[in-house]
């Protein structure tokens, strides 16, 4: 097999899989974000620390995300709408999956582009129609992938990426969510 370089350290991931099979407690991660209300519907959320492999961990730098609503919502548009962050998460997760699976299967990628569209009926969040849900009605992801692979192999990459995607799972399956006041 020719050497494929997509920049994913698949060997490390496979070693982690083997190691964690015998150590499920080390596999328990907690991802964290802390947010602060700014003004109006604008808030700022910071992400740096997380817990995993039995210890506190840290990203090498803090990331700061502004969430707001656009002008058509009569807001100041200091950042993207919170529901758009779900699209960011889904695109990032599926793309990472495509790269990892391609690396593992010896497929050289040249470009991976995705368009993610979430259909949203905002009458739900406005309370204008009690039969309309608050969240997305559906989400569509369209990948354009240039790689040394057949169409079927590329379709299989995308399918396997969904199968192992944390965000795809979080969006397609219910999650128990607790919200409380400290």
């Amino acid at each position: 097999m020719t050497t494929v370089e997509n920049g994913v350290n698949v060997q490390a991931l496979l070693e982690a899989r083997t190691a964690l099979q015998g150590a499920p407690e080390a596999a328990q991660f907690t991802w964290r974000a802390t947010s602060k209300w700014d003004h109006g519907v604008h808030s700022t959320t910071r992400v740096q620390q997380f817990f995993g492999l039995g210890a506190e961990q840290s990203h090498k730098a803090e990331s700061v995300f502004d969430a707001d609503h656009p002008a058509v919502f009569a807001a100041e548009d200091n950042g993207i709408t919170p529901i758009e962050y779900l699209l960011v998460g889904l695109a990032g997760c599926l793309t990472a999956g495509v790269a990892s699976v391609a690396q593992n299967r010896g497929i050289q990628l040249r470009s991976v582009d995705a368009v993610v569209e979430g259909k949203h009926d905002i009458r739900g969040i406005l309370g204008a129609d009690p039969d309309v849900r608050n969240g997305f009605n559906d989400i569509k992801v369209t990948f354009s992938i240039d790689a040394d692979a057949s169409k079927e192999e590329i379709e299989a990459l995308v399918a396997q990426s969904q199968k192992r995607s944390a965000v795809f799972d979080a969006l397609t399956n219910p999650t128990d969510v607790t919200v409380e006041v400290a």
């Binding site: 399918a159 199968k163 795809f168 799972d169 399956n173």
Partner: protein, 406 residues
């Protein structure tokens, strides 16, 4: 009573072990909680037929000799087939003998049963892979008005109430029961997770002829990349029917079965289904195509040309939830898998998930073996005809063990 080998279970696996033990003149008993082929008699639904065609159903020195080699045995025919094998091989079976405990001390196994105790140098566990149905924990939250069934208490549609049925799981069991229930006039909703799609016949041959001819079935357990996954893989979407028809999700959709995603949870009396249905379809369609491509690449001559099957049709509006209190669903059939049961086994050879931690049927405790589990030593281990090579190998190992520890 002292005996060299105790075999637990007089199904096809235990009897195959007995056959090879007898060939080697190793004295043994086969302990059976009920009758020979007990699970086939009592733990299967009425319409079930083997997934393997008759010509393929064989046991050591024993094969189908009826008039319909391309047909599929009914459960009654399987029982007869296994019983004849037990008779022909003169297997020393003790029926109505339930094993209550197996423990190991002083280089011997103490096997306690409902009818007496045995002390054996070696034990072969052939008690089956499907002793108990597996049902998700959230089934506790199903409203009491809905009747729940597993494949162990399901016999046929007539025992179910009229009205909607939610069948959970789309492997061989789930698709077969969904089709039969829909045909009985009960509207079926089928919850579909990951599954294996296969046509019943391909290019004029049974798909299991292809599995055999291509060598897929002879692939050894130590040559398989992800053995854990292979051993957990549920049965493919197949049925043994007289017309040798394919029973995939498109067949079920055409019958009027409504497909929904994997059942993830119950919240406020509502069943919540995964929105990932398209991807489980894509995974199964792609996998089927890859398999058929490998068959075509064999270059088998004198067969009809390669066929291409339509992708699984995605429902125009797949429901994400279903109100279990609305009366739409009157019964649920859990076709969510089976597991073996080892609560009688007092030797520490189980993994964290309660399964036998074996290396091709060889357990870590000296002289203790397993047979009749999925992909035990080969991909075909799961099927009746797969037992011959496995049983021979395991008994070879057992005999070597006896020789080294006289």
């Amino acid at each position: 009573m002292d005996v060299t080998t105790v075999v637990i279970g007089a199904g096809h696996a235990g009897l195959a072990a007995s056959h090879f033990l007898r060939e080697r003149s190793i004295d043994h008993v086969v302990l059976e909680r009920g009758e020979v082929a007990n699970s086939w008699r009592r733990e299967r639904w009425d319409s079930l037929r083997l997934l393997t065609p008759n010509w393929q159903s064989r046991l050591p020195g024993h094969r189908y000799e009826g008039a319909d080699p391309d047909g599929y045995m009914t459960m009654g025919e399987v029982v007869d087939f296994v019983e004849r094998f037990a008779t022909v091989t003169a297997a020393p079976v003790r029926t109505s003998t339930t094993v209550t405990s197996v423990s190991y001390s002083g280089d011997r196994y103490d096997v306690l049963t409902s009818t007496g105790a045995f002390r054996a140098r070696t034990v072969v566990i052939a008690s089956g892979a499907c002793n108990r149905p597996v049902v998700p924990a959230f089934s506790d939250a199903v409203p009491a008005a809905i009747e729940q069934f597993t494949p162990f208490d399901y016999r046929g549609p007539e025992k179910l109430p009229d009205g909607g049925v939610l069948v959970v799981g789309a492997s061989a069991t789930g698709v077969q029961l969904a089709a039969e229930l829909q045909r009985s006039g009960r509207p079926v909703t089928l919850s579909v997770g990951e599954h294996t799609r296969l046509p019943r016949t391909y290019r004029g041959r049974d798909i299991l002829w292809w599995m055999s001819t291509s060598g897929v079935w002879d692939q050894r357990y130590d040559e398989i990349d992800d053995l854990t996954r292979a051993r957990r893989l549920p049965s493919p979407q197949l049925a043994g029917t007289a017309d040798r028809s394919t029973l995939d999700l498109n067949t079920l959709t055409a019958l009027g079965v409504q497909l929904v995603g994997r059942w993830a949870a119950i919240r406020d009396g509502k069943a919540l289904f995964s929105g990932g249905l398209r991807n489980v379809f894509a995974l199964a369609d792609l996998k089927q195509q890859r398999l058929l491509d490998t068959f075509d690449a064999l270059g088998v001559s004198d067969l009809p040309p390669p066929e291409r099957f339509a992708p699984t049709t995605v429902p125009t509006a797949s429901r994400l939830q279903l109100d279990l209190r609305s009366g739409e669903i009157r019964s649920i059939v859990w076709a969510t898998g089976y597991r073996p049961e080892y609560d009688w086994l007092d030797v520490p050879v189980l993994d964290a998930k309660g399964r036998l931690d074996h290396d091709g049927g060889v357990l870590a405790s000296p002289g203790l073996y397993a047979l009749g589990l999925p992909v035990l030593r080969r991909r075909k281990s799961t099927f009746i005809h797969g037992i011959e090579d496995d049983a021979r190998d395991v008994v070879d190992h057992l005999a070597a063990h006896l020789a080294h520890r006289p």
